[in-house]
Point group: C2
Chain length 124, copies 2
DNA sequence: ACAACCGTATTAGTGATATAATACAGTTGA
DNA sequence: TCAACTGTATTATATCACTAATACGGTTGT
């Protein structure tokens, strides 16, 4: 069963996108595996304190990207293979590193300063 | 006159926040200086192809943070000093580095890999 | 078989974002 | 002086994100 304990909903970003991102990050890290069972829409909505429709919207997006298999009446499961996992990794890691580098460069931060910042915040 | 040529509006993030962020990044990089003149609401809205009210919303936020001075009928100007600039730098750099580190860690990327990614994307 | 789940769909309402069309009063330069 | 700007404010409309309350039919374990 996929775990959502580490997902703290923050505002400013649509909730359904945060749920999609959380699952995708799990895919990339290897915590989420092929055939893993997903909590039902109702169960997860109660756990996160959001509307079931919001969960459905997130799951729908993942299903449209063929990362989830859903069948009426039955539980939903992850559907992953090497190609899909690699695609998600590229999407997330590239987007994150690129946007971060772009922002830091635009603020006049040097590459050395950027690396120092990464090292600093890596230890929390 | 503050320049907005490098600002490409992307969707998913409110436009007024993107304008605020663009100006704040300019403050941190030193491109935007104290007493710099801002384009009028109407002029900037025409240049960016958005509604004047959206610009007003962005300028209002910056004025509330005492980074802009506006007086009815007159042009608007930046109002910066060392303390304000340092505060904006801390806000932006910290937020960017922290969120990036958090995302990469959650995806199972090691610190060394993260630094390699930064170096890779630094050259575009 | 059947209760308790499951996914799915629909309708309605709220708040935020953004556009559109004005209006009014203060300023500034020629 | 006065026309052309400025900031500011108002009202209306549209869309999206999210909540809320249901409803329907399929799956599953006991």
């Amino acid at each position: 069963m996929i775990n959502f304990d580490a997902l703290i909903i923050e505002d400013g970003i649509p909730i359904y996108l945060q749920i999609v991102r959380h699952i995708k990050r799990g895919i990339v890290s290897g915590v989420v595996k092929d055939r893993d069972e997903l909590p039902s829409r109702r169960v997860l909505s109660a756990f996160l304190g959001v509307n079931p429709n919001t969960i459905q919207k997130a799951y729908r997006i993942l299903e449209d990207e063929a990362l989830i298999e859903s069948h009426s009446g039955a539980k939903s499961y992850m559907s992953l293979d090497g190609a899909r996992i690699a695609a998600v990794r590229d999407e997330l890691v590239e987007a994150d590193a690129k946007s971060s580098v772009e922002a830091l460069k635009q603020m006049g931060v040097t590459k050395e300063q950027a690396i120092a910042l990464i090292e600093k915040y890596w230890e929390e």
